[in-house]
Symmetry: C2
Subunit: 326 residues, 2 copies
């Protein structure tokens, strides 16, 4: 970083992101203090993103910052937690200038306010490598009430929020693909890739009803499989029930072979949750109230393994269950 | 990472680092749960380290992992906190193999046990850049009792733990310098650079007596200056009182101009703290009980600014106060 010292950077761009949170001490100390609310415990998650792996180096800096935070907030959403704040380590190569950092911080500021999730502390450092952002997000749940991966039971219904596969198509768009779609569709899909929406309100609302939940970051099939493995159950997904956006449907009409990509592509940041059958109607009603579709797409089974069926009851061929950033 | 999937990596090398901490769920979920003890609040700090900036790419992996944790534990020590656990994002380039990771994890395991600080969660990802490790360490203090940077008062005595400047000389050794020293001295100094000792027991013990404290990561003068700026006071350091190791003293005899390096070099990870005069004897006695020297080296002043005096009362010339990893 050429022109501004670490201390100036913190004072100018990052201290405002604390939004007055008392335990952040305006980033003037080495550590922050934090306590859960009475009767609550903290839920803590940590995900790092690296240029060239999780985002493209030329992506708009404000969106990079927001997505880095949102992928962590999405983990909190999956666990039914309410955000309290976050910590951030920012690794910046020498070519990053103040304009980039200002845009990055301005983007983050929007999400700090929207999600009531202040910056509580962190670290900036130089790197001879690409931009990397490591965020630790902290939320809270009523003590003992975090929704785990491991509670799904045979007979529970698999539900998902929103629409699936948009981000995988958005990455295609960002890489110059899907030129047969309209400009509007391409912009929509790109937006779903660059700026996911953590389903915090839904996650908190459904947490009392779920037997297990996860946010879909590795891809629908991979993340549902995580629930299966941890819960000791299997799952049958009816692929024709998987909710698609209009843009997603049009892409699939043009290229039916995209179905595998939609079902296994990462970065959806929707929620997948196991709902006891008696609770499905209430889960859907609650989603409707929040304006977030909740769609039943499958059933958990006593037999282990994940099956994905097409309209004719045949297995959809998938080369991999999902995407890992490795 | 060539041979092992992220999931295998976690199960084989990282899940054992949770040491059975219940809120870590054996790293099988997206998030961990944590609560402070009754009457306590959490103290949270985050420092990232990057190959080529904070350590040398060829350093032994076990020492890299331990130092990454220890620099964070040192922050907790400075704040008087007791460690509860840590979160880690590990960014690994493709050339890193299982042998490297195993050594890295084995090193960490020693410190998890020694400092009773289990791994609670995290993330591994690939990177096109150098190895980077971002750790968030969490400790606890009695609510409202975290030692801040901003409590020093004019008349308080500046004390430091251990010996100062060894790590700066150790970095010289790592870079092929200080060949006039004995092999034993060089090994000692290199060790102080590669494996600092977070002064947790001392920090916890002194916290009731301190008016302000910081761990020395940027260099003695820079970190004392942080206390001064945040507390609205100045400080006069008597450089001849600054405690040096035998190896440090021998290096200084050979090259008296190294004094500036000793006073401003980073990576000491000793504590600097402001002690009201009535408490200095008790502070030293407590240090002695723990086997960690506590040495008064200066006095905080009403007039702002940092002065470093030599044996004749003249200012020691320093080009910079400290080192920042930028």
């Amino acid at each position: 970083v050429s022109t501004t010292s670490e201390f100036d950077l913190i004072a100018r761009y990052f201290a405002p992101l604390t939004a007055g949170a008392p335990g952040a001490y305006n980033l003037s100390d080495d550590a922050a203090t934090l306590s859960p609310s009475h009767g609550c415990e903290l839920v803590i998650t940590k995900d790092a993103v690296v240029a060239g792996v999780h985002f493209l180096p030329g992506d708009p800096p404000d969106l990079i910052g927001r997505k880095a935070l949102r992928v962590n907030l999405s983990d909190l959403a999956g666990k039914g937690a309410q955000p309290l704040g976050f910590f951030m380590a920012l690794m910046l190569p020498a070519h990053i200038n103040d304009t980039w950092i200002e845009s990055f911080a301005n983007g983050l500021r929007l999400d700090v306010d929207d999600f009531s999730c202040p910056l509580l502390g962190g670290d900036t450092t130089s790197t001879p490598g690409p931009v990397a952002i490591s965020i630790t997000a902290i939320g809270e749940v009523k003590t003992g009430r975090m929704v785990r991966r491991n509670g799904a039971r045979a007979g529970d219904v698999l539900c998902v929020s929103g629409t699936i596969g948009d981000a995988a198509l958005g990455l295609e768009v960002a890489s110059g693909g899907l030129t047969d779609l309209s400009n509007d569709d391409r912009v929509f899909l790109l937006g779903r890739y660059q700026l996911p929406t953590p389903r915090l309100t839904l996650g908190q609302a459904e947490s009392a009803r779920d037997s297990a939940a996860i946010d879909i970051s590795d891809g629908l099939c991979a993340d549902v499989n995580h629930i299966c493995v941890q819960s000791g159950v299997g799952c049958v997904i009816q692929s024709t029930h998987v909710p698609l956006s209009l843009a997603g449907r049009r892409a699939l009409e043009n290229k039916p072979e995209l179905i595998a990509r939609l079902l296994t592509g990462g970065d959806d940041y929707e929620l997948a949750f196991a709902v006891p059958p008696a609770n499905v109607t209430a889960a859907q009603a609650h989603g409707q109230k929040l304006g977030i579709p909740v769609t039943p797409i499958g059933i958990f089974t006593a037999a282990p393994g994940l099956q994905v069926l097409d309209a004719y009851g045949h297995q959809v061929k998938l080369d991999v269950l999902g995407f890992t950033h490795r």
